[in-house]
């Protein structure tokens, strides 16, 4: 049996935080992002209000999700597409495998899609004998490494160029190079032919437009454009929360996604697909399927307090600014979605009992909430998860500790006495391996406490 998620987390986080060079590398890699994000944000006439508009667009869409999904389905079918509904990961995998089999397909090219990571699609496709290739550079690298993405927008940001060069040398037989440009070109050349030969293209979806039945896909490299242009069949896997009401909501959401997540004015390619190739169009797939996935998103929807977590447009901004993420990295989370948004939603998607430790592993600094372009109340949701966990299955020792604490702080004299005793005992406590003091003292000192407390002095001083 694999270790419990919490134990694994503690182990991995300890290892990651002990790796100073790697933490420095991550900070350095994000330095350019902060600079360009600030330049782009400054171009907004009012960034904070633009966040309001984006938040409202998603709030309206999610709070009328049933109606909007039905509208999307109707319009998408009118456009000539096929809609499938999947209650869970197994159902989604079965649907996609079915489409691949029916199309007599052999090879599949994929553009970046975290939802396919969520349902572990690649393993399922490979088990059925389909050749699957990730075409996004970062995903391609991670696929070669047999590793999940480190960051859901920047999949291989933890790797240095020499590691990538070595990887390419091993798998593609290319000579070593320390040029990111040359490494990118190696992948470009390698993948070109695979695009041309693939039978099926699988993508995700950034937005589903209810009004027009279009699937909107955002990317920088052009791999998704190729994935949706060349193969005979296009399958897009989308969480049900991706739906938005109007086409022109994108006039707000697309630039904000790019600016918040990557410091760009717009991501290089933002493409809307409405069905397969039309009569009179030069190219495009013969068939276009959308698979709408629930997989416990409705459980999150049923919690009105945290429903806004479904507004997420997966820009990655909250990871980029998160001091926890920057210090422990993406793998320690052990989740499909890393960082603050992952810590918020994973307990809903995979169970609070096993995943609440992620909500605890936060100093609640709020950098995520401040960065989120759609104003998700991220760090406060961590507090709410903690509350829910205590209510649902809190431990007795923890409950006793806090009850006792509450009892003492309700009694000023007792509190004062406790304080005195604590101060008197402090020199000794420093050397006793008490549960809360030891982890502190290992890396930090405690202040001396020689003087009388404030309340003892107050009477005198404030007279």
């Amino acid at each position: 049996m694999s270790p419990a998620p919490r134990d694994r987390f503690l182990e991995d986080a300890a290892a990651a935080t002990a790796d100073d060079p790697q933490r420095g590398f991550l900070r350095g890699a994000l330095g350019g992002y902060y600079a360009s994000r600030d330049v782009q944000k400054a171009r907004y006439r009012d960034w904070e209000k633009a966040r309001d508009a984006a938040a409202l667009a998603k709030w309206t869409a999610v709070n009328r999700l049933d109606r909007n999904l039905a509208r999307f389905e109707e319009a998408f079918v009118r456009n000539g597409g096929v809609v499938h509904w999947a209650r869970d990961a197994a159902e989604a995998r079965a649907i996609i495998l079915g489409i691949c089999r029916e199309a007599g397909a052999r090879s599949v090219i994929k553009s970046k899609c975290m939802t396919t990571e969520e349902i572990h699609l690649n393993d399922a496709l490979e088990a059925e004998g389909f050749g699957v290739v990730e075409s996004d550079l970062g995903e391609f690298i991670q696929q070669l490494r047999k590793e999940p993405p480190f960051h859901f927008v920047f999949p291989c940001m933890h790797l240095r160029r020499d590691a990538i060069s070595e990887l390419f040398g091993k798998h593609l037989g290319t000579p070593p190079t320390d040029s990111p440009e040359e490494l990118t070109m190696i992948a470009r050349r390698h993948l070109r032919d695979l695009y041309l030969r693939a039978d099926i293209g699988i993508s995700g979806a950034n937005f589903l437009v209810a009004e027009t039945g279009q699937v909107s896909i955002t990317e920088n490299e052009g791999n998704a454009r190729l994935t949706c242009a060349l193969p005979r069949v296009h399958i897009a896997l989308a969480g049900i929360e991706k739906v938005i009401e109007r086409l022109d909501d994108l006039a707000v959401l697309l630039p904000m996604l790019a600016t918040a997540g990557a410091g760009q004015p717009m991501t290089c390619y933002n493409t809307l697909y409405a069905g397969p190739r039309r009569a009179g169009e030069a190219d495009g797939p013969e068939a276009f399927h959308v698979v709408l996935l629930d997989n416990r998103r409705t459980a999150l929807l049923a919690d009105p307090e945290q429903r806004d977590a479904l507004h997420c447009i997966r820009c990655g901004a909250c990871l980029n600014v998160c001091p926890i993420f920057k210090n422990i990295g993406g793998f320690a989370y052990g989740t499909t979605y890393q960082g603050p948004i992952g810590s918020v939603i994973t307990p809903h998607l995979r169970g609070l009992r096993n995943w609440n430790h992620l909500s605890g592993a936060s100093s609640l600094c709020g950098a995520c909430t401040e960065a989120c372009p759609v104003r998700i109340d991220l760090h406060h949701h961590l507090l709410r998860n903690r509350r829910n966990a205590v209510r649902a299955h809190g431990g007795w020792a923890d409950r006793l500790f806090h009850r006792a604490f509450g009892w003492v702080i309700a009694r000023p004299r007792l509190f004062s006495l406790g304080g005195r005793l604590f101060r008197a005992a402090l020199p000794v406590l420093r050397r006793l391996p008490l549960p809360y003091l030891r982890p502190w003292l290992r890396t930090r000192t405690l202040p001396e406490a020689a003087e009388p407390s404030f309340r003892q002095q107050a009477k005198e001083v404030l007279r």
Binding site: T17, I324, S362, S363, V390, G406, P412, F415, P439, L462
Partner: protein, 238 residues
């Protein structure tokens, strides 16, 4: 104006000088300063640990303790944020929710009170040397305070303010987080403290005593000479 002090429990017990400095600064500005002895802890440790029932009790007590106060001023953005933002949250739907909202409107962080409420930036302080300022996250993001402490420090005679890199990065304290996830908390302290030390400042100033506990504790273990001081202590020096 009569100002009621709101002294965080660990300032009371471990850093009373911060409370004394707060009183001194406010009196220096001509206000009457009082301390209501029934106050203890705002309940944040339990709130942050998910024990909202305990926090709710603490909130209800605080409503009684500070009943009728014109202005409640505390030298801790974190504890003020507990009162202002989270008491209303734990008392949502409670019969006394309106009282919590009312108390929230009367509670201020020290620098916020002096600059925003009193409209003062020069409190007549003098401190010779180079200082750098650490923004506590609660002040920064729960209370929206950025310029207040800087305006006050800017007016201190003899003091040169040097801004650090990682200016808005968390120090990693986070209450019980610091002992439940010590490795992450320490890594954060390291990033923050290194940046503060790189400024070459003699002192690190903050409006949040809990951040100073963390930063000071880390710097202490590292044997660094940089001192940590609360904003009130700088403002109280002559």
């Amino acid at each position: 104006m009569r100002v009621d002090l709101f002294i965080p429990c660990f300032v009371d017990q471990l850093a009373p000088r911060v409370g004394l400095a707060t009183a001194k600064v406010l009196r220096g500005l001509g206000h009457e300063v009082a301390f209501r002895e029934a106050q203890t802890c705002c309940g944040q440790p339990s709130f942050n640990s998910g024990h909202w029932d305990v926090a709710r009790e603490a909130a209800l007590r605080a409503l009684d303790v500070f009943r009728g106060a014109e202005a409640v001023v505390g030298p801790s953005a974190s504890c003020v944020a507990m009162m202002r933002k989270f008491y209303p949250e734990v008392l949502a739907g409670h019969p006394r929710a309106a009282e919590a909202a009312d108390l929230a409107g009367r509670t201020f962080e020290l620098g916020e009170f002096i600059v925003r409420r009193l409209g003062v930036t020069d409190v007549g302080a003098r401190w010779e040397g180079k200082a750098t300022y650490h923004d506590g996250c609660h002040g920064l993001r729960e209370l929206g305070l950025r310029r207040e402490a800087r305006a006050l420090l800017g007016a201190v005679r003899g003091l040169t303010l040097i801004e650090a890199e990682e200016q808005e990065t968390c120090c990693g304290f986070g209450g019980l987080f610091s002992v439940k996830y010590p490795m992450i908390s320490t890594a954060m302290a390291q990033v923050k403290s290194d940046a503060l030390v790189r400024t070459g400042a003699d002192i690190v100033v903050s409006s949040d005593p809990s951040c100073l506990l963390q930063i000071g504790g880390y710097l202490g273990r590292q044997g660094k000479a940089v001192r940590t001081l609360h904003l009130a202590e700088v403002l109280a020096s002559r």
